[in-house]
Point group: C2
Chain length 567, copies 2
């Protein structure tokens, strides 16, 4: 009988423990040891902002299973059946000897551990910009429970009143909400053009920005932190940017993460173009006895077929299971990801699956888009909320490329359906007929995604000439003469309107009667609250002989510029 | 120039108006007339139970667009651009002359209307059982706003205290909730073995039944209404079944619908084996100038490739759009449906997509199933609710065949993702890697569907020997000797337990230590709250040399038989 396989796992957050537990289930005899340099293991990193907000009162809940069992060494030994050793940093891989060097974080003592198979799940670390004053107190990243505890402690100890958050990605946005809930005044500084710039297109981000502003957040885009100024205690008191300066008792830096690849690089393992560890479809590195997964590797994007670096707790878990299978003789492949993510930001759900428009264009797709907001369930059933939605597809193949959502309605369902459809190569034709579950508390007879697919198909077939709100804004700024035709009801018009000098009001029900008085030579751009009546207005005007008529995508609900309330 | 095409549409609820409106948008010159025999058009039939409950105060909301515009003849003429004529019953199709006979419902006056293309959207009608006393007052079906208004009127006028609902499909269940909300005592009578028998498998239906009972509903399955007894006013006062009798001031009959095909049959159009109108993929009947859609046709089921009769407001809308396209020269095909449906029943969402187990077996699939309950979002984030879930797949092709959900958690998202995956032919391998949107307020790192797919893959690979709760119950009833091993925590065990004499309690954390004392020759069936710890117990016991160990699917949460609370 062969001696038991020795498996060593480096990293104890998500992919590592998952790989170890799965390997144990697949091979009851393997000797499995997991080394983690920190003190916390298998924690729910994505829950940290909610611990800061207070929604999760005790950090232990992020360290426990659903039934309240804390995941410590005893748990892993007794339940999962492998050895967990915390406070142990793997400092070198000696591939020739098939062993790793392990250094005790406290004592500095070094030991070696032999392996037959090695798993690297070293994760990623927050980018720390080399800015003057970065070492001051109360400037934090947010990655581990330790950071979250420190942030909560600082808030209470120093009675934090003002905070500056640098970086408006999901973490920055979730912490923004957390701090506002704690009564802290937040300035959100983002170097790029709009919030969540790597995740969203402008017009979706603009609605999120408006919501942040309504919640009292000072949103500062296209602005870069330049230096931090401290007080006499060595704690931050001011953030200086290239455009201004802001008082701050606390600063969060959330400008992204970089994969931890030092160990892999020094061992001579191949890195990819993204800088993350390169793996094959089996999640094997360039050394066939070494696997890697989670935030330290690059993953294949299903729509581009190319490797990309993405930090994702979900993918880390998927990777971990595949590695556990393959370590012990299995042959499972990782098929790739589609760039799905979501965040709750105050009352809004904001998310994306697939490619956003700008990325799809850069990749050479023949892009069509639509903005199609709608209620998340039957409008007549109580508590329906609007989901703002952008759909992106390829005109040539008719394939769905991406969906983004923003708004108070249930966007999470639409993102998950879109992610599934994109993964499976759905065309717009398929999307327009998806047999989704209809009942008034859960959806409209035609779900938002079906309506959006229909709008897209109309555009592809040339039935629905349209312009984007960005184009309308540009025409306005250029002083072009056109009629921006609001076809909503008088009641809607009295509640809220676009701030645009070209607006002309005419309810849809009176359009057939009144349109003959409209100038025949002007571009007419009808719009409504959502999109449908704008489109119907186009059809009515076309029927009446008007030649230059296009509806504006997304209506009032997805107008990304200023709105005004009469009086 | 050719004269404009004449389009006649029969039926004004869902498919009809949609076809007419779409045809108008595709062909601005066509002359389009829609005949509807009733007074209400384009109403939200699926919203009627919520009008009865009072959640929707005014019936007009079910007749109005999202911005409150009532869909009447003026609306259809001005906005949608076609003629709507209510109170007009189409009584014959003269295919040779290409005209229909139209009878005025009130005056009996007959006119003819010529057509180039005809659309049949005649819908379905509730089955009315030929039972003694069926004509008594306060016995209602529920299909149109008229019925809903009559039911609400009866409740108020006759101060209804007790109601009997016959038929426990979605409509019966939704109205059950509606009446209970109004303080009415409800007896729900279902002839088949369990509630929602055409939609759910037993073990999902059992959890729904328990919930109904907890809400005070008297659930009577395997029981048939035999006759109705009236009072002196000619109104129902008692329902007599084959097993008992119940006082009732009001009776709802919801035992299914049949397609309205008289018009089609008399015109010599082909009907399918289901009795509904047969159409091709373009939704054309056996007469190429006549299209049909909505509840009067049979639709292709994507998983069987065979036509089936299904009543669905969603499909009616999809059909309508396709017909509108094809009427006016388009070539769109209907790809089929996957049997998706959902209902809100008190605090539970209950739904299904694809094939349920019993149907999949009858169709000859090599069926594997799993019961995999789980929290609908990260367990540590507030307000997570459990989704009970059953997954069905084909062992041979590894294709996902069906998913059912039941419970307080967000099942609707999982059903829609499953419906999308089934439509696109997803395998379990794909399901286990779906890149869904993860954030604690919306899901766990691995969504319920991914966890379920992993359990299914473990079963397919022989890694996860398991038994169903039904098998456990049968073994118990047969007096077999086995150990039903509860591996939960003491706290969980003190809250609620299975009522089963074979139960033995041993927390998972102590299993490695204590198991050596277990008898080696007994079948051991570990289980926990959900499923994972039961599976882990199997792995631990296998590792310790036990040979006959299987975990019980679904744990305590999906145990479909009696539970008990200690003390």
């Amino acid at each position: 009988m062969a001696s038991p396989m020795k498996i060593v796992v480096v990293g104890g957050v998500a992919a590592g423990p998952k790989a170890a537990a799965r390997a144990r289930r697949c091979d009851p005899t393997a000797e499995i040891t997991l080394f983690e340099q920190g003190e916390f293991v298998s924690y729910a990193g994505c829950g940290l902002p909610f611990f800061i907000s207070g929604a999760i009162p005790d950090i232990k809940e992020l360290l426990a299973t659903p039934v309240g069992v804390v995941r410590d060494a005893g748990f892993f030994k007794n339940v999962k059946g492998f050895d967990l050793r915390t406070g142990k940093r793997v400092t070198a891989i000696e591939r020739g000897k098939k062993q790793v060097q392990v250094t005790d974080v406290k004592t500095g003592e070094v030991e070696t551990a032999p392996y037959d198979r090695l798993v690297l799940a070293t994760g990623a670390r927050p980018v720390r910009p080399p800015i003057e004053g970065i070492d001051l107190g109360n400037i934090f990243p947010l990655q581990t429970p330790k950071h979250a505890l420190e942030i909560r402690e600082a808030i209470e100890r120093d009675k934090v009143k003002k905070a500056v958050l640098i970086g408006a990605g999901w973490i920055g946005l979730e912490v923004t909400e957390a701090l506002v809930h704690r009564g802290i005044e937040v300035t959100l500084v983002e170097a790029l053009d709009f919030v969540a710039p790597n995740l969203l297109d402008f017009e979706i981000a603009a609605l999120l920005s408006r919501h942040l502003t309504e919640k009292g957040v000072a949103v500062r885009t296209q602005e870069r932190a330049a230096r931090f100024i401290g007080n006499s205690e060595g704690k931050v008191k001011k953030v200086v940017t290239d455009k201004g300066e802001y008082d701050a008792d606390l600063v969060l830096i959330a400008i992204g993460v970089r994969p931890n690849v030092d160990l892999a690089r020094e061992a001579g393992l191949e890195l990819g173009q993204t800088g993350a560890i390169k793996v094959d479809d089996y999640l094997r590195t360039s050394d066939p006895d070494i696997y890697a997964g989670g935030d330290c590797i690059e993953s294949k994007h299903l729509l581009t077929g190319k490797p990309a670096f993405v930090s994702s707790g979900q993918l880390a878990n998927i990777h971990g299971r595949i590695i556990g299978t393959n370590l012990t003789g299995g042959q499972e492949t990782f098929k790739g990801f589609v760039g799905t993510s979501i965040a709750k930001v105050f009352d809004f759900s904001v998310g994306a699956a697939g490619l956003k428009e700008s990325v799809a264009r850069d990749l050479g797709f023949d892009v069509e888009t639509a903005l199609v907001p709608g209620p998340d369930h039957a409008h007549y059933y109580p508590q329906s909320g609007v989901v703002g939605l952008k759909m992106v597809a390829d005109r040539k193949t008719r394939r769905l490329l991406g969906v983004q959502v923003v708004g108070p309605g249930d966007g999470s369902k639409r993102i998950d359906v879109a992610a599934t459809a994109i993964t499976l190569g759905a065309t717009l034709d398929t999307m327009s007929q998806l047999n989704l579950a209809y009942s008034p508390p859960f959806s409209s007879a035609l779900d938002n995604l079906l309506v959006a697919a229909n709008v897209m198909l109309n555009k592809l077939e040339g039935r629905a000439p349209s312009v984007t709100p960005m184009a309308v804004q540009e025409m306005t700024e250029q002083g072009q003469d056109f009629m921006l035709l609001d076809v909503r009801t008088p009641q809607e018009f009295n509640e809220i309107r676009l701030k645009n000098p070209n607006t002309f009001f005419m309810p849809l029900g009176r359009l057939r009667e009144k349109a003959p008085e409209f100038p025949k030579d002007k571009t007419i751009i009808p719009f409504c609250k959502l999109s449908l009546r704008g489109y119907e207005a186009v059809k009515i005007l076309e029927g009446l002989g008007f030649k230059d008529v296009k509806f504006m995508d997304g209506g009032v609900v997805q107008w990304p510029y200023e709105l005004e309330k009469p009086q």
